[in-house]
């Protein structure tokens, strides 16, 4: 492969045969090779993945737990994310200030946060300071003690942050769509409310930590200037080996509702454009339809050469952005089209989006589109794994979602294996718009009539 590339370049440079009127011919994309991952497991079950990468004198760390917001008890939304945020705000050994100062002294960065499925402690540090940084990470994971004043301040600030988030139309649309698509499933509530924040206290946070932050189902990923030697392993064992494991509880059993058409309009008076989302329940990464759907979605709205972008923005000038995205969580996934259009053209824009969804669900994609999209997905996947930081994140998420490590190497192959029939079948199942939900955030007085042409509109006040 390499040899061919060199040969071609030389040819091209020597000749007066350079044809500037045509794009250069290049070799096919190479297959992605995962760097060597050294895998270990401590006696308490903690899985450890090491990648020795000495490009930079830096080490990236991820310590992840299957403890995302889906484990928040009903009415205590925000419990997982608040537990995460408070991990670095005090332990039985250190005050919040001591943690903050130590992190900076080590040339580190350390934070913890949670998503729908997982809670992650994420950090990086100058390689020379790895030992004390690992000790600190183990301390926050194991010994956080949720000081009353820190809990109070976090709650106070989170309520204001939530207010600020709710001032953004996109946030409102995203939250409401999750509720419509997931119904009684806990994925419906990925953000807290002011009322649920009020109910959080030290006892609830400690209990959540004790229950879910256990090494048995956790994964520790280290990528950077750290050789996977016995010395390294002994150090990991010494900081984490005596961390007792407990059985981790299973996620609550719940099924999202069957998809059906519904139209929700959140009134945001004064909006100068309408934030539009059209979405459906889709699949998880384990589903055989996942890769064909990924390809279908990319053709529909995955990039700047996608159908939605070319139509809604470049042809019609309705919007600055128009895209679609597959969001595959551990237990369910969604496919959503997202765009923000000027008020006067909302009706036409909805019509155009539905038409594009119908087209990809009903008609085969062209051979050119299929080839271009396989390349796009394969190429940007490789680019996404360029840095130590990105690789650490991908390794952690892969394992936390219960996927095998070779999922990362298989990715480009599976994208390329998706054929036109599979793509059409997946699109027919998961993109066809008849059961899609529509959520719009905007100035109801200006846009409601346009929406009513598509069915009964449920209008709400913004929270």
């Amino acid at each position: 492969m390499r040899f061919l590339a060199l040969f071609w370049l030389t040819m091209m440079l020597e000749g007066e045969t350079i044809d500037r009127t045509r794009p250069p011919v290049t070799t096919d994309l190479p297959v992605y090779k995962l760097p060597p991952v050294s895998e270990h497991r401590l006696a308490n079950g903690l899985e450890i993945l090491l990648v020795h990468d000495n490009r930079l004198p830096l080490i990236h760390l991820r310590l992840g737990f299957p403890a995302g917001s889906k484990h928040d008890p009903p009415g205590l939304w925000g419990l997982s994310e608040t537990t995460a945020a408070l991990l670095i705000e005090g332990t039985t050994k250190r005050s919040a200030r001591q943690i903050a100062e130590l992190v900076t002294e080590l040339g580190g960065a350390l934070r913890a946060y949670s998503g729908p499925d997982v809670l992650l402690i994420e950090g990086s540090v100058l390689a020379e300071n790895f030992d004390p940084f690992l000790e600190l990470t183990a301390d926050v994971a194991r010994n956080a003690n949720f000081p009353e004043d820190e809990v109070k301040l976090r709650k106070q600030n989170r309520k204001q942050e939530l207010l600020a988030q709710r001032a953004q139309a996109d946030f409102l649309a995203q939250q409401r769509m999750a509720q419509v698509l997931f119904g009684l499933h806990p994925y419906a509530h990925q953000e807290p409310t002011p009322e649920t924040i009020d109910k959080l206290d030290r006892a609830a946070l400690s209990a959540f930590r004790d229950r879910y932050l256990t090494p048995g189902r956790a994964v520790l990923v280290l990528v950077g200037d750290l050789p996977p030697t016995q010395k390294t392993l002994r150090m990991l064992e010494s900081k984490l080996g005596d961390w007792p494991s407990k059985p981790a509880p299973a996620p609550p059993e719940a099924r999202p509702p069957e998809p059906k058409r519904s139209i929700v309009l959140i009134d945001r008076p004064g909006s100068v454009q309408a934030d539009l989302r059209i979405g459906r329940l889709a699949v998880t990464r384990r589903d055989p339809d996942y890769f064909p759907l990924l390809v279908a979605n990319t053709i529909l709205g995955g990039g700047a050469s996608s159908r939605l972008f070319m139509n809604i923005r470049e042809k019609q000038g309705f919007a600055y952005d128009a895209h679609s995205a597959v969001n595959a969580l551990e237990e369910a996934g969604t496919l959503e089209v997202v765009t923000q259009v000027r008020n006067e053209v909302l009706g036409e824009a909805v019509q155009a989006v539905l038409a594009e969804m119908r087209r990809i669900a009903g008609e085969p994609v062209s051979a050119d589109e299929l080839a271009a999209t396989r390349n796009y997905l394969s190429g940007v996947f490789v680019i996404r794994l360029e840095t130590q930081q990105a690789l650490a994140g991908q390794l952690a998420m892969t394992r936390l979602l219960g996927l095998p490590l070779d999922y990362l190497e298989q990715y480009t192959l599976r994208v390329r294996a998706a054929d036109a029939d599979q793509v059409r079948a997946a699109a027919a199942r998961y993109i066809s718009p008849e059961q899609a939900a529509i959520v719009v955030v905007g100035d109801a007085a200006k846009i409601r009539p346009a929406l009513e042409k598509f069915g009964q509109v449920l209008q709400e006040e913004a929270p």
């Binding site: 440079l13 500037r20 070799t27 040339g107 301040l153 139309a169 100068v272 990039g303 680019i383």
Partner: protein
């Protein structure tokens, strides 16, 4: 210093084509990825009256096709070869990048050369992109809390020279007034090879890359070097304060800024270090004393060049500016007083050695993190070449930061963060239906910004 001590250095080779285009190569074949970055020496501060937002509108036109790559082809070719791309408009430059799997390098060079040589400029594309830009303005500013205040009002408050103070996203009126002749003239004047820097970073062979660059770019003719706009600002004699009622905001905010130093002057390095002491990480003074101690501030941002630039692409005249989202039980005045109290403490006592040592480590580690991706490297190299004429600074500048003393920080704080040089923009949530104040007719000037161009 320590960066070198750790054996880490970015390879840099710089040369010039006969037509004046500067080329910087930074090979690193540890990942099969290459970034092509083109930075042009023109930004929003080069706009003329009646054409606010034009540099950004023009940036959009760069994606509308060129002689051999028809409309849509730029996106299609990059993406179908597995790459991603974008462009953005800044106060002092406009830049474009493609990140590709490394065997696709030639595709990006071909596309960039084709549009530099022969951009397709026509009425239909211009009309379409005016709409896209208006939608971008609605999306990123008119429909967002805080952002209209930052892009329209903050520059007017902070600057007196129109080149610096006007809106960088532009008014709908000015966007509508733009003609294809304007586009053609702008293209010829500013998008010439001698006004551009091309950077390649990542997995390529330098000798082959040079040949490719030569064959694609060398025949593009140079143009007379465009004039630099006059950006000079009169000295600020007194404090300025403005209150902006924001119908979309629900939480109050305050912007505080002070005219900053010349880029690469001793005070530039001192203010970057001061910024770390005040705002860098959770151990910083603002975090520990305002977010934690007084519990008045919820979140903040600050930078030399904020909100449209950072230290690496700061170009004077610019501000050292800060943004505070704060609890509603505190007034904007109280927040300003608390911030000034922190500044006064530095002006009186300097910075203790232990704290300064932490700030140095923070800076050093931050720099290493900043260099992880080929795209970030390419951008810094291009910016340093364009703004400093010296990309090698990326390898050599650290000692200038690390050598700053506590006393130098104290003196710089005294020189720059003076109450009489201060501008404050208070952003206050206003009830829906409240009259949105018009940006007054003013002899006021403004400043910079970053507008995302393309896709995502």
């Amino acid at each position: 210093m320590l960066l070198q001590a750790s054996g880490f250095r970015i390879p840099i080779e710089k040369y010039r084509l006969a037509n004046g285009m500067r080329v910087i190569l930074s090979p690193d074949n540890s990942a099969p990825v290459v970034t092509v970055y083109l930075i042009y020496g023109v930004g929003a501060r080069s706009e003329s009256k009646g054409r606010t937002g034009f540099a950004h509108l023009f940036e959009h036109m760069m994606f509308q096709g060129s002689e051999n790559a028809p409309k849509g082809e730029h996106f299609r070719l990059v993406e179908s070869n597995g790459g991603s791309l974008n462009g953005s408009t800044h106060p002092d430059y406009t830049d474009y990048f493609e990140v590709l799997p490394s065997n696709k390098l030639a595709v990006a060079l071909w596309l960039e050369a084709d549009r530099m040589r022969a951009l397709a400029i026509n009425e239909a594309n211009l009309q379409n992109q005016k709409e896209a830009v208006k939608q971008e303005r609605r999306l990123s500013f008119d429909n967002q809390p805080y952002n209209t205040a930052l892009i329209e009002h903050w520059p007017k408050l902070a600057f007196r020279n129109w080149a610096n103070s006007h809106s960088l996203i532009g008014s709908f009126e000015d966007l509508d007034a733009a003609t294809v002749q304007d586009v053609a003239r702008f293209f010829k004047t500013y998008y010439a090879p001698n006004n551009a820097v091309l950077v390649l970073a990542g997995d390529f062979d330098a000798a082959q890359a040079k040949k490719l660059v030569e064959s694609y770019f060398s025949e593009i003719p140079p143009q007379p070097q465009p004039p630099r706009p006059d950006l000079s600002e009169p000295p600020q004699g007194e404090a300025r304060w403005e209150t902006y009622p924001d119908r979309l905001a629900k939480v109050p905010a305050v912007v505080i800024g002070y005219p900053g130093p010349r880029r690469r002057s001793a005070d530039y390095y001192a203010l970057v270090m001061l910024d770390i002491v005040l705002t860098g990480g959770d151990s910083s003074r603002f975090y520990q004393n305002l977010v934690k101690g007084r519990q008045s501030v919820i979140q903040y941002e600050a930078n030399l060049g904020w909100p449209f630039a950072g230290p690496t692409d700061y170009l004077d005249p610019g501000n050292y500016a800060m943004f505070f989202l704060h609890h509603p039980q505190f007034t904007g005045k109280q927040i300003v007083a608390q911030v000034e109290e922190e500044i006064a403490r530095v002006q009186k006592e300097g910075v203790p050695e232990k704290e300064l040592a932490r700030a140095r480590t923070f800076l050093r580690a931050g720099r290493i993190r900043q260099l992880e991706s080929t795209r970030a490297r390419a951008m810094l190299l291009g910016q340093y070449e364009l703004l400093d004429g010296d990309p090698e600074l990326l390898n050599t500048e650290l000692p200038a930061f690390l050598g700053v003393s506590g006393e130098q920080i104290r003196e710089a704080a005294l020189r720059y963060l003076r109450p009489t040089a201060r501008c404050v923009l208070e952003i206050v949530p206003a009830p829906v239906g409240a009259r949105q104040r018009k940006s007054g007719p003013s002899a006021a000037p403004s400043k910079s910004k970053t507008t995302k161009g393309k896709s995502r």
